[in-house]
């Protein structure tokens, strides 16, 4: 609990920085190609308090935040930022969680498999594949997947998002998971090789335990530790939505809102998403700490 409270100053700094950086950027939320009538512009600015001095706007925003109010969106008239996040987040969360789960399962097993064949053919192939997975950006992989599975083979829809259509999820989840799979595989391989060299693994082997049990019961937990610390911030990033993936597959998630808000100078929406993202990172790091304690008995004593 103390750790959660300690993160409040960090969040405040984050919010303040984001607030002023957003304002430094040229242009405003209501700049259009055709300029508005001065009276209308003044009326809009007054309605959104943009006519006040910046520090006053800042205090007003922080005051609202303290009451849990993220303010109205500047771009989506009639919607509050909270409503927009509530709309986009479940979609990003679904895709993000599924792809993290996939990445953990596939990447983790591939890493273990490679570690057990260190410097042999199987190891080299897994590591080469994962190097490719890390190097290929998702904006290359995703269109290629669409080309193959949607355009050529007609197996899957090229994009879109309808409630309950699981086929829609398949490609985005896979595209989002691929780099994570590759990264986790490398991480797991390195950490597993390290653990397999430790004395307690030698003891486990000296006890005559079969290799499967040596790996699963004795080596897996310690080998998971580095992956856990990687997972915290990564999971927060992935479940708040990938800008690229959501754009390519036409998914109405949080990531897409974020980019559009930044382009539109939708001040409140950008800030809202930044705060939400910051909160999630704090939360996930906290969860990772809890998991550390659950896995490693030496951490539990606090």
């Amino acid at each position: 609990m103390r750790r959660l409270l300690a993160s409040i100053p960090t969040l405040l700094v984050l919010i303040t920085l984001a607030f002023f950086m957003m304002r430094i950027a040229p242009g405003g939320p209501f700049d259009k190609e055709r300029s508005l009538l001065p009276e209308i512009e003044a009326a809009i600015n007054a309605a959104y308090h943009l006519d006040e001095p910046l520090w006053q706007q800042y205090l007003r925003y922080m005051g609202g935040l303290a009451r849990g109010d993220l303010g109205p969106s500047f771009q989506y008239a009639g919607f509050s930022v909270t409503e927009l996040i509530a709309q986009g987040f479940p979609v990003s969360l679904t895709i993000g969680l599924l792809s993290m789960l996939l990445a953990l399962l596939v990447g983790g097993s591939a890493g273990i498999w490679a570690a057990m064949r260190q410097n042999r053919l199987g190891d080299w192939s897994v590591m080469t594949l994962s190097m490719a997975g890390i190097s290929l950006p998702s904006y290359v992989i995703a269109p290629l997947m669409i080309l193959l599975f949607a355009v050529t083979l007609h197996w899957l829809p090229a994009g879109g998002w309808e409630q309950g259509r699981y086929l829609d999820m398949l490609m985005p989840v896979l595209a989002l998971a691929l780099p994570q799979i590759a990264y986790i595989a490398r991480l797991m391989r390195g950490s597993m090789i390290e653990v397999l060299r430790s004395n307690f693994i030698r003891t486990a082997r000296a006890k005559g335990l079969p290799e499967r049990q040596v790996i699963l019961r004795h080596a897996l937990k310690p080998a998971m530790m580095p992956i856990l610390s990687f997972l915290g911030p990564t999971a927060a990033g992935v479940i708040t939505g990938s800008v690229v993936i959501e754009q390519i597959f036409g998914i109405p998630g949080l990531g897409r809102y974020f980019v559009q808000a930044a382009i539109n100078r939708d001040y409140t929406l950008v800030l809202g998403v930044v705060i939400f993202y910051g909160l999630l990172i704090v939360l996930f790091n906290f969860l990772v700490d809890l998991l550390y304690g659950a896995l490693d008995p030496r951490v539990r004593v606090e």
Binding site: S198, N199, F200, R202, T203, A204, R205, A206, K207, G208, L209, P210, E211, Q213, R217, H218, K221, P222, L295, D296, P297, R298
Partner: protein, 317 residues
């Protein structure tokens, strides 16, 4: 037929610098219920010999020769067959009790799994038997210890747990590789005493690996002195300690500090360093450091039987 017969064992490792020859034609025997001390400096190949017996050598190792346990050739066994012997018939205790137990699992889990694996017991029966074994190694409050993690135990306590763990399946041979080196002096004595008692209680043969000649005297009837992966001298411990025949054995004995040795006299040390195992000389490996070396020592001496059950590899006699 002895319980353990090692015959002309050779162990080498492929390294980037070349072939490292850790053990070079070593033969030894351990009879049922007998205790053999294997003494040598670091790098003398004593630990690698133990690892070869356990089938736990690193992957870049090559083994030649023969290791027979209870008449069975261990080097020819498949991993699954070896797993039925390891931990069940041959147990091994390692040097560093601080890192040899899994920090992520309770003592009970780590002990009971041995019985589940080799005896087909269920978890409950395994834990009960483990508690009994903890009592046998004089750990008080055994039931509570089972639910503890290694970091909650002292070094001596952990080594007792290790010993108890290896004894669970009543092995016929216990290999102890420097079991007391990482421990306090007082704890060292307790662990040695315990090993002696358990040996009688369980009738288990012991192969005690150490660099400390003082330790073998307390536990082992027979001692084997190794140097550069070769046998230098072996025989009844009492005889080796009182009348060492090999210059190396003598050097080891002389470089041992005694409690009553005067403080102003510096400790005797064997001059020089052990040979480079990447480039072993063809002759007696101890020749460069030997005070008695002569021309013949540039050929490798044969192991010759002497009166009193002593084996010695030395041209000087």
């Amino acid at each position: 037929m002895a319980l353990l017969e090692v015959d002309n064992l050779e162990i080498s490792f492929r390294t980037p610098e070349g072939e490292l020859r850790a053990v070079n034609g070593l033969s030894l025997e351990v009879g049922a219920g007998e205790a053999l001390g294997v003494v040598g400096e670091s790098g003398s190949g004593k630990s690698q010999t133990a690892m070869a017996i356990m089938g736990l050598l690193a992957r870049n190792a090559t083994v030649r020769g023969r290791i027979r346990f209870d008449g069975q050739d261990l080097l020819g066994l498949k991993p699954a067959q070896m797993n039925r012997i390891r931990g069940a018939q041959i147990g091994m205790v390692f040097q560093d009790p601080m890192t040899s137990l899994n920090p992520y699992l309770t003592v009970g889990t780590q002990m009971a799994e041995v019985l589940v694996q080799h005896r087909g017991m269920n978890q409950v029966a395994g834990l009960a038997e483990s508690a009994r074994m903890l009592e046998a190694v004089r750990i008080p409050d055994a039931a509570r210890r089972l639910s503890q993690y290694p970091h909650e135990l002292s070094g001596g306590m952990r080594q007792r747990v290790m010993i108890a763990m290896t004894l669970l399946c009543r092995p016929r041979l216990l290999i102890a590789d420097e079991p007391t080196t990482a421990l306090d002096v007082t704890v060292q004595a307790q662990i040695l005493e315990l090993l002696g008692e358990l040996r009688r209680e369980f009738g288990v043969a012991v192969m005690l690996i150490t660099h400390d000649l003082g330790i073998v005297g307390e536990l082992c009837e027979r001692t084997l002195v190794m140097y550069a992966g070769q046998l230098m001298e072996s025989g009844p411990t009492a005889q080796l300690l009182s009348r060492p025949g090999h210059p190396y054995t003598r050097g080891l004995l002389d470089s041992r500090p005694a409690l009553d040795s005067p403080l102003d006299v510096p400790l005797a040390a064997i001059p020089g360093t052990p040979p480079d195992l990447l480039r072993l000389p063809p002759g007696c490996p101890f020749q460069p450091r030997c005070p008695q070396a002569f021309e013949a020592c540039s050929r490798r001496p044969a192991v010759v039987e002497r009166p009193g059950g002593v084996l010695r590899a030395c041209h000087a006699g």
